[in-house]
Symmetry: C2
Subunit: 218 residues, 2 copies
Amino acid sequence: MSSEVTGAPPTGDALTPGARRVLDAAAELFYGRGINAVGVDLIAKQAGVTKKTLYDRFGSKEALVAAYLRERDERWRRWLTARVNEAAEAADLAEVGAPEQEAARAAVRVLATFDALERWMRRENPRGCGFVNAAAELPDAAHPGRQVIADQKRWLRGYLRELCHAASASDPDTLADELVLLHEGAMVLSGLAIVDAPVRLARDVAVRALAQRGVVGT
Amino acid sequence: MSSEVTGAPPTGDALTPGARRVLDAAAELFYGRGINAVGVDLIAKQAGVTKKTLYDRFGSKEALVAAYLRERDERWRRWLTARVNEAAEAADLAEVGAPEQEAARAAVRVLATFDALERWMRRENPRGCGFVNAAAELPDAAHPGRQVIADQKRWLRGYLRELCHAASASDPDTLADELVLLHEGAMVLSGLAIVDAPVRLARDVAVRALAQRGVVGT
DNA sequence: GTACGAGTAGACCGATCGGTTTACTCGATA
DNA sequence: TATCGAGTAAACCGATCGGTCTACTCGTAC
């Protein structure tokens, strides 16, 4: 009787207080130590909750992993779009003629993704991309977390494509792929601490890629 | 009495037949399923060996992980340098004047690293960079495998620096860092299958980076 | 006033974890 | 002939794995 396992994991906002603490603890532990290195007992303990609560709310460790990735994805998307829009609004485009104003603002947006990434890495991603790390630990294609990872990467590509189109770049789709490449490379190098300022480096390369594609701006 | 644990793990070539099979099994399982998802029992079973042999030869799982990474590193270095040298020898530089011959050959070498990478990813790295994946699973800075990972990445940077210097690039060190960035980004995207031909893409960006640095050639 | 959702406390399950141990076999070397 | 390194076979260790279960306590909403 009593509590029945909810088949679908929580959407993110309608969490009970216990579930909220479980997800927070899981996020910290999964990212910091690796998914397979963290047991459900430890998560429950750190959340100040019993395993029963964890399983009543999330159903399985697999589902909890997927929920962790989903929420991380949401946070990243909100962060990125917010920083990009801020930069576009703050940009001073006085010397740009009215006809090119829109394209110039889009160019600012593209480069702002690198600034957003740089701050994100410092604040939330010192151990590299959480999705790439998760993919390394989830070789099983059937794992529900794999879908979240694929969605995350596809979303970034789509978002950069939009920005490249708006910036009137020639061959915007290829340019977007190149920007994704630079983003991923910068994230890996940030986690490995082998190059000094990898995101800055990626941004510099991006600037040249933009210029080469006829994008006006910075 | 009998067998004593060897403190230092084997160097790679002087392995007993049992140790050889253990290392081969470990390499396949660690890369294919992730380090933390594979137990020593499974490795021993797949190698057709008892756990005693595994522990007599390697001492601990940690040391076995380090040995796996060391051998993978050696294989990659051998592969990369061999392909690069092949390409340099095969290059037809008839129309290049004698004074620039050496620089032109070095330029060929730089681009050959991407061709070598592309074939390596198809043959040995379908799940992405084994070192980046391992880093995701080894958050403990004291783990012996971490040193191997850092060495591997630093070696690539040093190798690319040599090639960039030999190619008479302006600012060769920064160029080398950019090439490392492109290599890492291409490896991540190869593992995630989100972009069609990530290594080809990285190579194209590299060509432009070379031209921008005054490197003659392809 | 009672039914229900969210929670605690904690025992329990079989399986597996990394690692150790004892006892024995085999082939080569000295 | 004696020794020794490499190996097999298999039991054993305490700890932890993901997951289940019973019994009970709240607070709220109908």
